[in-house]
């Protein structure tokens, strides 16, 4: 069995909703704005997400004039094909800065996450371990 040591453990968040208990793998990521100032954003960790996807109305953080001013792309969602726009930004996690692509897309509003944390570039910088039943994420800075 492969063995790896993880320095960080991220617990899932349990939220009581009108429809019952929901367990969410949430992670706080620091976004470095073009001005150099930093803001922390809560994202949902999604192993199926190839690119980190942020809510469309976060475009001011990327220093762009509107959410749809980037490279136009299309995404497949449960509700059908949805437009999204690609940008490049810098995200920091556990003190490591990663230059990576992000997509802006119209996502449902949720107070505990403003986007989905994706794999592109970021999985090269970190090692992630996840066992669904453990309800924890394991992160190493030395993958």
């Amino acid at each position: 069995m492969p063995d790896r040591s993880f320095e960080h453990t991220i617990g899932f968040y349990e939220v009581q909703t009108p429809n019952g208990l929901v367990v969410l793998p949430l992670i706080t990521v620091t976004l470095v704005q073009p001005s150099g100032t930093r803001v922390d954003l809560p994202l949902m960790f999604d192993t199926g997400a190839s690119v980190t996807t942020l809510r469309d109305d976060l475009y001011p953080l990327l220093g762009v004039p509107s959410w749809d001013s980037g490279i136009p792309l299309q995404s497949e969602t449960a509700g059908g094909v949805t437009p999204c726009y690609r940008y490049d930004t810098t995200l920091e996690l556990f003190g490591k800065a990663v230059n990576c692509p992000v997509h802006l897309m119209q996502l449902p509003r949720n107070p505990l996450y403003v986007g989905l944390f994706g794999r592109a570039q970021i999985f090269d910088a970190f090692g992630f371990g996840f066992w669904e039943s453990a309800r924890e994420l394991y992160v190493t800075l030395t993958p």
Binding site: G11, R38, V39, C84, L107, Y113
Partner: protein
């Protein structure tokens, strides 16, 4: 320098060893306390210690060691944790607003993100935690949008 010892046939790494010869009796007893070792001084001045160690290899998976050693994520300084615990209260006070949270309090709030960023700049807030508190129903499960190639 780390040493190894053979216990039960397997080599064990000794992480710390203490030479007691240079320590006063009080210092030695302090060390024993710090290691959680129970001790007793007899009326004649003899030191008795009650100590045993039972090893159970593979007691938990290596991935769980960090969690158990560190305990739960501390609430202090974790804005996401704080927001998740105070969601009902935040929905009452800031529904429909963007909020900048620092530690365990809302440092600024505004109807839009650009307005909030302006306020954050005015207040000189460093690295705020940003989120929106929706006024309407919340969607809790989001399926990932897979880019079409």
């Amino acid at each position: 320098m780390p040493q190894t010892a053979s216990v039960g046939g397997a080599a064990k790494l000794i992480l710390e060893s203490v030479a007691t010869s240079g320590l006063s009796p009080e210092e030695i007893l302090q060390r024993l306390d710090s290691y959680g070792v129970e001790w007793y001084l007899t009326g004649q001045g003899d030191l008795l210690i009650k100590y045993w160690q039972v090893g159970a290899e593979g007691f938990v998976s290596p991935e769980r060691v960090g969690t158990i050693r560190m305990g739960p994520v501390p609430a202090e300084g974790n804005s996401l944790e704080w927001v998740s615990r105070h969601l009902a209260e935040l929905r009452q006070r800031h529904a429909g607003q963007w909020v900048a949270v620092v530690g365990e309090q809302v440092a600024a709030a505004a109807p839009t993100l650009p307005q909030l960023l302006e306020r954050v700049g005015e207040l000189g807030i460093d690295r705020p935690f940003l989120t929106e508190i929706p006024a309407g129903p919340i969607t809790w499960i989001t399926t990932y949008a897979r880019p079409l190639v």
